[in-house]
């Protein structure tokens, strides 16, 4: 049993294309000094998971998954960050924005990945078991879904399908 199981996806990475299921588990850790958990979604396995099930299941037949992109501009202030049209960015394939401050607790609920400007970000091997989700799902050329950290997003309808731990 998995927390989330996406079935029949075509994965496109490093010039290869292949069919896989994408099962996810959610790791939980009690937050220091607080009576709540912090959650981390991660890819648990790859390949044919047809003998297994998920609490939440999605059949993504006909969709192609690929790594999200890093937004080229560095965001300077929290105000600028708030002004970004998140779903617009994701529609263009971006899942990560660079910021010039250290991401804190308030960004935990932000839909995009926030990355420290100075830090090198590895976008290879995103489909390795153990990694946290950072994918976009396309139908043809159109981004229809995205899975970023704890959020599975319906990009066309601009809504969250799964929002683990969102306050």
């Amino acid at each position: 049993m998995y927390d989330i199981l996406i079935r029949n996806i075509t994965i496109s990475e490093n010039g290869h294309e292949y069919i896989s299921d994408l099962p996810f588990m959610i790791n939980e850790q009690p937050a220091e000094g607080e009576k709540r958990f912090r959650f981390n979604t991660f890819l648990a396995e790859k390949g044919d998971q047809s003998t297994f099930y998920g609490y939440e299941e999605f059949d993504f037949s006909g969709l192609t998954a690929s790594a999200g992109l890093i937004y080229p501009a560095v965001i300077k202030t929290k105000d600028d960050l708030r002004k970004l049209d998140v779903y617009e960015l994701i529609s263009s394939g971006y899942t990560t924005v660079k910021i010039n401050w250290k991401p804190g607790d308030d960004e935990e609920v932000y839909l995009l990945n926030l990355a420290d400007e100075g830090k090198e970000i590895s976008m290879s091997d995103l489909f390795k078991p153990g990694r946290k989700p950072n994918f976009i799902f396309k139908k043809g050329d159109e981004v229809v879904y995205a899975f970023i950290n704890n959020y599975l997003l319906d990009v066309k309808n601009k809504s969250t399908i799964i929002a683990t731990g969102k306050k």
Partner: protein, 322 residues
């Protein structure tokens, strides 16, 4: 002869049907009976202490401090009832397995009630004496970790007794010589009942007392009570009740207690869709345990078929490399 058999069948059927009805009454009354101050899995020793202070004032209960954890948190034994059949329950010997602790406090509330289920409570009081240790591993609960502060798994310490918590449990057990024991745990939400899509929301175990996993009367009685609880719960979570592996573990308390003559039952709380804090599973614990109490008090468990436990329940299965 035929008439006698028919009569036997009929009386046992009537007994069971009463239990179903009673369970249903508890199911619908639960939200009014439950301990509302406990509502999530990160409960700590400091959350249960005020509740234990309230119980101390109630003269139906006897609260005794039976020892302290490594970090000097008090561990209490709570006694209720005047009957000759003794039942001993303990919860949360693994610090990150709190679901049944919440259910035990629901049960204390039920037993304290002066208006609801008066006849049932009176019957339990006359027939049973029930002993509880809620939260045996408070230091683990503080950190939400399985093991005690020494990083020793208390449930592998039943022989050596190197941890004070294990020593407390063993000394209490030896002093009580209970007829039935309930060892209350949580299990992974990734378990299913056999190779199905159904999460193992509750799994039962009548631990083995030898490597051959044979049955004697003591273990048979545990299997009978599990059969009762299964038949009650399957109405509320059909297909979601599993069986935990009965591989013999000589260092585990359930296995040791079974071998010492107490019919011992493990209840494992597991995953249920959209119930991350396991509050529905907590309710199922309450329902299962109260039903077990009643079937022991009125002896209906004796007619239960062990087949439900031995053959009907599917083994817990896990899908992954983890």
């Amino acid at each position: 002869m035929k008439k006698v058999i028919l009569l036997l069948l009929l009386t046992s059927w009537i007994g069971f049907s009463q239990d179903y009805k009673l369970a249903e009454d508890f199911y619908f009354a639960y939200e009014n009976l439950m301990e509302e101050t406990l509502s999530h899995r990160l409960i700590k020793h400091s959350d249960i202490i005020p509740l234990i202070e309230q119980i101390k004032i109630n003269k139906d209960f006897t609260v005794t401090k039976v020892g302290e954890s490594v970090e000097k948190r008090d561990i209490f034994l709570i006694k209720w009832g005047e009957g000759k059949t003794k039942i001993f329950l303990w919860s949360q010997m693994h610090g990150d397995e709190p679901t049944a602790t919440m259910a035990l406090f629901d049960i204390f509330k039920l037993l304290s009630s002066k208006k609801d289920f008066k006849d049932v409570i009176q019957k339990l009081r006359e027939e049973l004496t029930i002993y509880f240790i809620p939260m045996l591993n408070p230091d683990g609960a503080e950190r939400f970790q399985r093991r005690n502060v020494y990083d020793i798994d208390i449930n592998r310490d039943a022989l050596r007794l190197a941890t004070p918590e294990a020593k407390i449990l063993m000394d209490t057990f030896d002093s009580l010589k209970a007829d039935f024991g309930f060892n209350l745990h949580d299990q992974s939400s990734y378990l299913t009942t056999g190779q199905t899509y159904k999460s193992a929301a509750i799994s039962f175990l009548a631990p083995a007392f030898n490597f051959e996993r044979t049955y004697n009367e003591v273990r048979e009685n545990a299997a009978k009570v599990i059969s009762i609880m299964t038949s009650i719960l399957k109405k509320y979570m059909p297909g979601h009740i599993g069986k935990y592996s009965d591989e013999f573990e000589p260092r585990a308390f359930g296995d040791v207690f079974q071998s010492k003559g107490t019919s011992t039952i493990l209840i494992e709380s597991g995953g249920w869709k959209n119930d991350p804090e396991r509050q529905y599973v907590r309710k199922m614990n309450f329902l299962a345990i109260v039903s077990a109490f009643y079937s022991i008090a009125d002896n209906t468990y004796k007619e239960a078929a062990t087949d439900v436990y031995k053959n009907y329940l599917k083994m817990n299965a896990i899908c992954t490399i983890f």
